[in-house]
């Protein structure tokens, strides 16, 4: 009996089957890859396309509407690509920042006991979540920003902020020579205030004190330093309406403003739902128990709800951040020169779509992995705090 048991024919042996099916799978993949590759090389030969990344060294020869680094059409394609990448990064980082603020506010409003506030937040969330981002973007750009009045009739907010067909004009912060010294003071203030807050929270468990004392200290040091360093460390260069255009200030193009507005409004609606879900995931009993132990409302929020809600919120929040960064590629629909838009132009001009698309995809992939990495580190910290 024993010998019959071991004598499984090899075609029914799981180990053998496993090995063979994997070999078969890899073979199929290899054949498919070979098929596609031979088609690709034939097609590329027929169309006179060449592989490789040599084109990155060639002169680009096209204008880019806005660039964070100096760029002119005589620069190489590689520089143009980096200009696009920086534009994607800037709109993504600003978008994540503002979307988080608006999203958290909306999420809290959605939980408000005030019926009217609650309904407004719900209507905002439902309308935004159930319409496509691209429709919102083209609406905001072609329906709002492009239809702003001409320069002469600019929308004027207190002579500080202006909006017209050419974009949005905001004051531009100009660091003076005393700026580094001021930053040093802010650093010192942070080094004192952060541990102070933590120590107060652990020692006294009084949330109000643990937040207000360090904040007051921080503000006091910052304000004191502002006057202490002599010349104001930051001056604001206000936009000044001229005859045909504005001088001074920081000019944000209509494309950039529309893209940022659209991404923020769209992503904030999703973040609001994430925040609401996170807060609601904290069991009622937790709050009731905290109340029974005599904790105040602020203490409950900081010590009971917040740590538990964060645990639920961080993973979906990460994927919303990733979505925002990926959605910034819709910039091509409104002509903002982001990574994808510039990349598509390069692909068109060089006639080398294959390496360009590979480069674009690899860059987005790297951005996504980087964002997940950062958020995973934060997530791990939140999870450890929880235990």
């Amino acid at each position: 009996m024993e010998s019959r048991h071991t004598a499984v024919p090899f075609w029914r042996d799981v180990r053998v089957l496993t090995v063979f099916s994997q070999i078969g799978f890899v073979l199929v993949l290899a054949v498919a890859a070979n098929f596609f590759y031979s088609n690709l090389s034939t097609a590329m030969r027929q169309r006179g396309l060449v592989a490789g990344f040599d084109f990155l060294q060639r002169q680009a020869g096209f204008e880019i509407g806005e660039a964070l680094i100096p760029y002119k059409p005589t620069d190489v394609y590689g520089t143009a690509f980096i200009v696009g990448l920086l534009n994607t990064l800037s709109v993504s980082v600003l978008g994540i920042f503002f979307a988080t603020i608006l999203g958290v506010l909306t999420g809290v409003a959605r939980l408000s006991t005030n019926w009217l506030i609650n309904r407004i937040a719900a209507a905002y969330i439902e309308i935004i979540r159930n319409t496509p981002l691209l429709v919102q973007l083209v609406f905001i750009y072609f329906g709002v920003f492009v239809k702003f009045p001409p320069v002469r009739e600019s929308i004027n907010l207190g002579d500080t902020f202006f909006a017209n067909q050419r974009g949005v004009f905001v004051p531009k912060p100009m660091p003076a020579h005393t700026f580094p010294a001021w930053v040093l003071f802010i650093g010192i203030a942070l080094v004192i205030a952060l541990p102070l807050g933590r120590a107060l929270l652990i020692r006294t468990r009084r949330v109000g004190l643990a937040w207000s004392a360090p904040i007051i200290l921080f503000v006091a040091i910052t304000v004191f330093a502002w006057f202490f360093v002599g010349t104001p460390p930051i001056t604001f260069d206000l936009p000044v309406p001229g005859r045909f255009n504005f001088s001074g200030g920081l000019a944000l193009s209509p494309e950039f403003s529309a893209l940022l507005t659209g991404l923020v409004i769209y992503t904030a609606a999703f973040i609001a739902e994430v925040v609401r879900g996170g807060i609601q995931a904290v069991r009622k009993g937790q709050v009731e128990a905290a109340r029974a132990l005599g904790l105040g409302e602020l203490q409950i929020l900081q010590l009971v709800i917040f740590p538990q809600a964060m645990r639920v919120i961080i993973p979906p929040l990460t994927s919303q951040y990733l979505n925002l960064a990926k959605n910034s590629s819709l910039a091509i629909a409104i002509g903002y020169p982001d990574l994808f838009n510039v990349g598509a132009t390069i692909a068109n001009q060089t006639g080398q779509p294959v390496p360009v698309i590979a480069l674009i995809m690899a860059t987005y992939l790297a951005l996504s992995l980087l964002t997940s990495l950062v958020m995973n580190i934060y997530n791990a910290r939140v999870q450890v705090l929880e235990k």
Partner: protein, 416 residues
């Protein structure tokens, strides 16, 4: 002294309208302030919106291009085919409502109400009748059926379907089968055959408008479903070669924007395929959306697979089933049931993502909107067109997320 403990009515300030107002709007001083502020915001927004909708907005741009918005460049004399597909959907929805009731009945009711409203408009308002007449082509009688007749037929079909199957649970399987058949039939009917006079070929490059939006989303989700299941199973496989291939595919696709994938399939798919094998740009867009959705579908299915207790598979193994049968008969049926709500969610986002096809020059709903705005007589009407497009997306997405919520409750998925 005895106290009279007869029931005393609650204070007038805590019940009724006044009580509700007090509790929900004016509970504290800052809540009152918030309420007043919110009330002012709502008033100013809504009043401006209403004023714009009924006085300033030039809705003629929608009325004049209604056929374009619905079917795009689909040949006008063949519009009876999309109408027939709609009729098929109407009767099937009516039958589903009859068999299962619940949310489906609500949907059927809404659909019937929509048909009825459009019909009344078509019959009463002469201008609208003319507008709706652009839906009926010239030629044989079936090509020239007026829109009003189609609307009446659809209305009747919903009602007949509903009352024909009401309370007959046994019809469930037949109706599900009919839905699947109707999906295949829809594609065949819209596509037609070469050298056929009754249903001549209409190449996919001539599909457009809302029709194309729906076909893009539906075909992609249906094709990506089996792919997603395979990828999810592959990712959980013990065999490293298969596992790493699946992980790589899923993570790469999820890490890049959809528009890059669409761009890739538009430009690179023709390079990868043999020269004689040509796909028009609608099929290439569908391919891109399918590749994209399959990765997300795989993650959904994986979530479902992970939710099945290992005891299920172990018990099945103990009963003598092999790995393949355990997966096919025990694990998958339970897992797929769990992922229905998330799949609806995926369909909604795919439905909205079809707008990205405009970027690769397809004439789906948003693409039609943009091409309409390029006509000289409709310049500057962006607000009207985009609001209309957004409203259509909103109606369908909202209805689907409502349905998803109902299914979730019915299956009790969220409760576990």
């Amino acid at each position: 002294m005895t106290t009279n403990v007869e029931s005393v009515a609650p204070p007038r300030t805590s019940v009724g309208v006044l009580g509700w107002l007090r509790k929900n709007l004016f509970s504290t001083w800052y809540n009152s302030l918030l309420t007043l502020f919110a009330g002012w915001v709502i008033y100013s927004v809504v009043s401006q919106l209403l004023a714009w909708t009924f006085t300033a907005a030039k809705w003629q741009v929608i009325a004049a291009n209604l056929r374009l918005f619905m079917v795009g460049p689909y040949p006008p004399d063949q519009v009876w085919r999309p109408w027939l597909v709609l009729a098929m959907t109407a009767v099937l929805l009516g039958m589903s409502a009859g068999v299962w009731g619940g949310t489906l009945r609500t949907f059927a009711l809404w659909l019937a109400a929509t048909f009825a409203t459009l019909l009344v408009i078509a019959l009463i308002v002469e201008g609208w009748e003319r507008q709706l007449a652009i839906f009926s082509g010239k030629g044989n009688w079936w090509q020239a059926i007026p829109a009003a007749t189609w609307l009446l037929l659809n209305l009747l079909l919903v009602i007949v379907g509903y009352f024909g199957t009401r309370g007959r649970k046994a019809w469930g399987r037949t109706v599900i089968l009919a839905w699947l058949v109707s999906f295949a039939l829809t594609i065949v009917l819209l596509q037609g055959f070469q050298k056929n006079d009754l249903v001549p070929e209409v190449s996919t490059s001539r599909w457009g408008g809302l029709l194309l939006t729906f076909m893009l989303a539906a075909v992609s989700i249906v094709v990506s479903f089996p792919l997603g299941v395979l990828l999810a199973l592959g990712r959980r496989s013990q065999m490293p070669a298969i596992k790493w291939f699946c992980v790589l595919y899923i993570e790469v696709v999820r890490g890049v924007p959809l528009v890059t994938i669409l761009y890739m399939t538009q430009i690179m798919l023709p390079l990868f395929l043999p020269g004689e094998f040509r796909l028009d740009n609608v099929l290439r867009a569908i391919a891109g959306m399918t590749f994209f959705t399959a990765a997300y579908m795989a993650e959904n299915v994986r979530g479902g697979l992970q939710a099945i207790p290992t005891g299920q598979a172990e018990a099945a193994h103990a009963l003598g089933l092999n790995d393949f049968l355990v997966t096919l008969l025990i694990v998958l049926p339970q897992a797929l049931r769990l992922v229905i709500p998330t799949t609806v969610g995926l369909f909604i986002s795919l439905f909205k993502d079809t707008t990205l096809a405009t970027i690769v020059a397809l004439l789906e709903l948003l693409g039609v909107g943009r091409s309409v705005l390029a006509q000289p007589e409709f310049l500057g009407l962006q607000t009207e067109v985009y609001v209309f497009v957004a409203a259509i997306f909103f109606v369908f997405s909202y209805a689907m997320s409502y349905a998803s919520y109902q299914i979730e409750n019915a299956l009790g998925v969220g409760k576990r």
